[in-house]
Symmetry: C2
Subunit: 214 residues, 2 copies
Amino acid sequence: MRDEISELTTNRLSLYVRFLNELDEKGVRTVSSTVLAGRFGLNAALIRKDLAHFGDLGVRGVGYVVKDLRRELQVILGLDRKLAVAIMGAGNLGLALADYPGFRREGFRIVALFDTLREKVGQESRSGVRIYDIQELRDVAGREGITIAVIAVPAASAQQVVGTVIDAGIKAVLNFSPGALRVPPDVKLKSVDLTVSLESLSFYLASLESGARN
Amino acid sequence: MRDEISELTTNRLSLYVRFLNELDEKGVRTVSSTVLAGRFGLNAALIRKDLAHFGDLGVRGVGYVVKDLRRELQVILGLDRKLAVAIMGAGNLGLALADYPGFRREGFRIVALFDTLREKVGQESRSGVRIYDIQELRDVAGREGITIAVIAVPAASAQQVVGTVIDAGIKAVLNFSPGALRVPPDVKLKSVDLTVSLESLSFYLASLESGARN
């Protein structure tokens, strides 16, 4: 059943969890699909369909119990297990990601940075994530139970680093490096393209101007 | 008409432009909606609908002429104008974004970094983006025609920095700082949540394990 759930759906589930966290902090106990829909600019039927994938989570006339729905979604997303994450590359991007507060808040543990530069190895990021030599990846990954690697190295070395990650037995890769990477079929690769967000602002500015012209 | 185009649509248009760049580099002259659909795992009707928003760009029996479609989409997304971007915060994240190759490739100019730390002001990022004192924002923005500001400061100072950005007359803000920011209705704010990508990998790993159990 899980195989049929698209990535767009799991992205929405992530947003629902975030909103449920907010509601719970405010002491809100139940939420309807209509309220969820209003928050995300989606229609309520889509939200009910998203949640129905995972069994009957709602109560007729009440909606969803905030704490229960959040717990269910966290289990579905695998967030109940505090997954251990390695960041490959201790440059500006790698260090920024190691200290990014959102990862920790949502149940990930950033356990190690890896780099090839001798002068960086043994240092720590501001929040205390240690930088290891990339040759230690297999050992550290085994010891810490690392299941996700984040690629934050320059494009020119990204494919080689991904090879090292795969050799260490890591099956999930989040790529911030530009350009396409090759992975075997049993490895899940997700690439983040930061430019898409900037382009939606560009579109907004273009539409402001065309509005002013008309 | 532009007002009716959703952000999900503009995000897809960004991806189409990226793919059309690839096709053009390979010397491919035309592309059908079916090929576009296959590439993105969408259905061809949705793609035709996306593109039909902007007039009749296709040729029956041929599909779309790669160069023409790309040029149209670039104009629609406002990418033909080399928009000037400022990055607020010259910490690890700000410096990483200033040197991110994707922004330049897709038609943005990162013209300045801003920080409050005296020892950073006057320095440059690795790719040569100069760091200014945040008090200079209004002057530099006017001189360079900055229309987009990227927020890459710690959460505690993000709201104050957004205030400075708005006072300088900038109407589009891309926020990497966690937590909600308030902007007036005539300012477009887009927030990037890097955790969502990590959560889709978490879901994948959870489904691997549940597959192994079953």
